[in-house]
Symmetry: C3
Subunit: 467 residues, 3 copies
């Protein structure tokens, strides 16, 4: 957060005195038009573009979607009793996933929205704009992610696709945090649309081609979102010397930001656990709980050690306390054990505070990279850490430690089709899909490849989008 | 929201400089009493009335309520194993409904409370008073709604009656939004008590006599609450020319209001889905999610198109973004499909913004109707739209599309008692109650009648209450 | 809340002008060091201590914890189908407890954090410090509580131990409310560590030796936390005459405090119900809902009756409205009936308002006891009331009213081992553990003993800790 690193006062973007709601950088154009009438016309043009986008989304939703079977009244399994082949009402998909879905939904709309209010002049605009971009991204992400998993030419809509759309939206909001204040709202909306498409492709490639797992989306969501946003910011950097006084937080906006932080912190276990099931889900909750607790304590401690005054550093408290949730994401459902989660949390808290204190100013000096909300410290580096921890845990995962559920944890490690090994396993697990019979090290390698691919796709995609 | 429609600055009520907590319009009386001692006496009288109300509620609760069987330790099915006829611990009523109940509870107390803080002078009072009225209404609604479904002369208390009480309380709070600032607290409390009784009667009549369904309560809650409140406001209108400067919002109270908006937006799927089960519940979640997303985007777009300056219109963002949740309420659990939900959301967002911009000022000019929070634009018109969409969907509902679950969706369409059709259906559904063998069009007609009855009861009830 | 009782302006601690974040009372030392450099060194020392604590927690977690069986992939029951002896996926521990766990988590971090922002100068610091202390206490409480229930020399970590840790953390935060502003942060952290250890011992003694039940932790959490904190505050009292102007609330911080109040109020049913199951859980939700509603209404009424001006008393609205949740805690899952819960709520609301208005100033006059947040009125006295109500309900509990589930409600009342009575009961309940065959009155006696022991341990522990 630049107001604390002196170097940033000579940074890139012109943000002063222009409401984000109307347009950030638009001021230059406005001076040509010369009056309020011009701004109003631009705002109407923005409104028209958004209206057209919504109309397009309506058309695509009409042409391409259907209810998934559990939500489709015409599917007779919803009427029949279980003994007649109907769905078991004690184990419905909506019942199982809904509470965690709602927690994630609160994180996206309340958590991130309020965390961004720390920007003094943007408080209200940040919440409002986050709201618009998120509602747009949700609808587009349902479609973009669905294109990769069509069922009879239609996208199945249900709680898991809604959760997936919320995850994609998080990536967009993270990127927003890197560029907010440097672009017009319309540019941000276009950026979101491109990012979602790229996100869906990269996620599909990582999950289905590379078969690299990532329960909490630390690679596919956090690394992708952070480096995409940073690359856009890099592409947008300018030579001029703007005034960053508007980034200063004030007392009340910091209290508002804490609303965001606390909801993110409290509900993060749901984020890491929402898309897995059974004991994997349980471990994801436990590991995230421990990692976040240790990260919070560590962020306070390290923040005190690197401090140069006698107050809480609000940036560290509002952001670095959350890094443990990111850093434990990929391995959240693995056998990390509570102590492993605590260790990851300590590393993440330390890394994030050091990032805000030393790395962000250095990046700005060297690359002229301006990172409005410091997403590199909360999502970028902790996300990379998560990918590395995930690869390490994959390398250590043995059938002895995981039992038969090793093949549920890492589907690619399951025996290949038509082998006696698969038959043996299926005496216990019944419906296991055949896999690639990967070794632990091979799985770890693919995890690293997925991390690298995500990083590269994000950076290149972001640079192209920013130009 | 009057500070944005110039006409309203010449509107009805005297709200300035008098704390809602003590009394809004009471100032006139106070000038007679002439001093602070008078105000204190009045406040003590208010306290006494509230205390007596609570004592009455205690007595009625003592005389009339009992735990429903699932919560009653003396019911042996709670001790026995399922094989011995006990309740299945994997499918308990509390487990199934509790997460959505809590979401609704957050909407009532946090969502609505904070949404009302946009009134500059009333921020704290609005939250506090909403708190008091809600806690009072909950207890009274349990009794008032329960009187219609006695079991051995006693009201069964449980999670569904608690949810029903929360719904009734929402109707009261909506009405409050139309009249806040024009009455004394005591008048509002009396209004709440009358409204709950009328609400329970109308809901019972619509659901059990007309057999019109309304999963999200858009007719029974939103239409009822909005037009009841507007009718009270109409009855209270005065000729004098008050100062509405206190309705202006300021920066921080708008951020507080956004807390309310976002929690309402995020949890609205729970509101529309809380009282239905199985695939109906699942559809209610999906449809509401899509409708709200489309409505949010549309509200931003239309707001820009009708804007006359270059800033976000906060009223539209805080309110119109939610209209999609209201408008999809009645048909939320029907086979509306995602595209249908998106279409409803687009219509609702447009309608609501146009309501704030053009219809509310017109209503004020023509009828001298003052609507403090603009409930007509968020609850009134979108609620009517919901009723119409529900009737349309009912007219289109066929056994082909819904399978046997058509009769669960519209109980009145089930075959009549002692018919072979009922026997046939019960080979699949087992315990289906006999219905009226209604056709699709007939069901649609009854949906429209329920909408009309609700509107008429609300308006007449409100006019009588206001006088 | 002292700014409203004149007497308190002559009270004990020096809190003015020193940020809690840096150090509250540290000013005296600082004047010796004479400059900002000294404060910075102290802050670094604090950071080092916190870092060492976190390192110690990592070591203990490594040495002493393991996943509980439901979260342990190496436990084959997680892979196997139920028919092969695996866990039933329709009834997983994480699914059952997680939504309520999250509600409790929100209460601890968002609810209490924001409730404390009413302190004008401490708003941000209170939220931040609450965050740090809670994250530290969680980890330590998992270990401290676990030491009493080792499994093969290891502590089983899972959702119930996480819930237990959240409960222990609540006790610490309550104590914090009594002493905040009178100590250095480091002193508060040391206090927390001691308190958690004592808490775990007292809870284990009460639950396993005395076998006194307390579903909502009103005795083990609220009474313990309140009187421990008050005893520390008493031990810290000083003769000087400080300025309490910093305790004054202002408009916006009161709105922030209301965020805390409302989340606590809404989620309190989860707090009282989270650790029990089946119909007990259901009753805990219902009883808490009724008690809180009645308490809220009563607090408004009594507050008006004892008022000496014409405004809402914010302290009563922010705190006393919650006393019903505390007071119903011990008996929450018993057959209290809705009317009993309403009666308890009325008593608690009255008691709490009277506490703030008359008892707190009196305690300050007589004992020089300063209670920053008035925890005696919200947690202390209502907690004692809860213990008494629990004992009364235990005395009234008969097999006629509870059926066989009496022995699940009060395990000590179950028949002794190797008796025919136990065999008879187990024809219904199957796996009932043998008990002590206590009578109703005997169980009530043990409930009272547990209350007394908790009070005495808290007071003595607090006095020793404060010195």
């Amino acid at each position: 957060m630049p107001e604390r690193c002196g170097c940033c006062t000579t940074a890139a973007a012109t943000v002063a005195h222009v409401g984000l709601g109307a347009a950030a950088v638009r001021r230059r154009k406005v001076s040509r038009l010369g009056d309020a009438r011009g701004r109003q016309l631009q705002r109407m043009r923005d409104g028209l573009v958004v209206a057209l986008l919504q109309a397009t989304l309506l058309t695509l939703t009409l042409l391409a979607t259907q209810y998934e079977p559990h939500a489709d009244a015409s599917d007779s399994r919803n009427s029949y009793l279980p003994v007649m082949g109907g769905f078991d009402q004690r184990n419905l998909r909506i019942t199982k996933h809904y509470p965690m879905f709602q927690d994630v939904h609160v994180m996206v709309f309340v958590g991130v929205g309020f965390l961004m209010t720390f920007l003094k002049k943007y408080g209200y605009s940040a919440v409002g704009f986050n709201f618009l971009v998120s509602a747009l991204s949700l609808q587009w992400a349902i479609l973009a992610r669905g294109f990769f998993e069509m069922d009879n030419g239609r996208i199945n809509v249900g709680i898991t696709s809604m959760l997936g759309a919320d995850f994609a939206t998080v990536a967009v909001i993270i990127s927003l945090g890197a560029v907010i204040g440097k672009t017009t709202p319309l540019q941000l909306i276009v950026m979101s649309l491109i990012e979602i498409a790229l996100f869906a492709t990269n996620e599909w490639f990582g999950m289905n081609v590379l078969k690299a797992v990532d329960a909490g989306g630390s690679m596919y969501v956090h690394v992708f979102g952070a480096y995409f946003g940073l690359a856009v910011s890099l592409a947008l950097r300018r030579k001029d010397n703007p005034d960053f006084s508007n980034e200063a937080a004030e007392y009340h906006s910091d209290l508002f930001a804490m609303i965001g932080t606390l909801f993110l912190w409290v509900f993060w276990p749901s984020f890491n656990a929402a898309l897995v099931t059974g004991d994997n889900q349980y471990r994801a909750v436990i590991n995230t709980y421990f990692s976040l607790s240790a990260c919070c304590v560590t962020a306070f401690a390290v923040s005190s050690l690197v401090a140069n005054d006698n107050k809480f550093n609000m940036v560290h408290i509002q952001n670095s306390t959350l890094a443990g949730g990111v850093a434990v994401g990929t391995a959240a459902d693995m056998m990390l054990y509570p102590y492993g989660a605590v260790a990851v949390g300590i590393a993440a808290g330390t890394l994030s505070v050091i990032g805000y204190t030393y790395i962000q100013p250095a990046l700005h000096r060297v690359l002229k990279l301006h990172d409005t909300c410091g997403v590199h410290n909360l999502h970028g580096m902790p996300g990379v850490l998560a990918g590395l921890v995930g690869a390490l845990m994959a390398a250590l995962a043995s059938e002895k430690e995981y039992g038969e559920s090793l093949f549920l944890q890492f589907p690619a490690r399951a025996p290949m089709n038509n082998t006696s090994a698969l038959t043996d396993v299926n005496e216990v697990l019944k419906f296991l899909e055949p896999g690639d019979n990967r070794s632990a090290l091979r799985q770890a390698g693919f995890q690293l490849v997925a991390l690298l691919v995500t990083f590269v796709v994000a950076v290149i995609g972001g640079l192209l989008t920013g130009n």
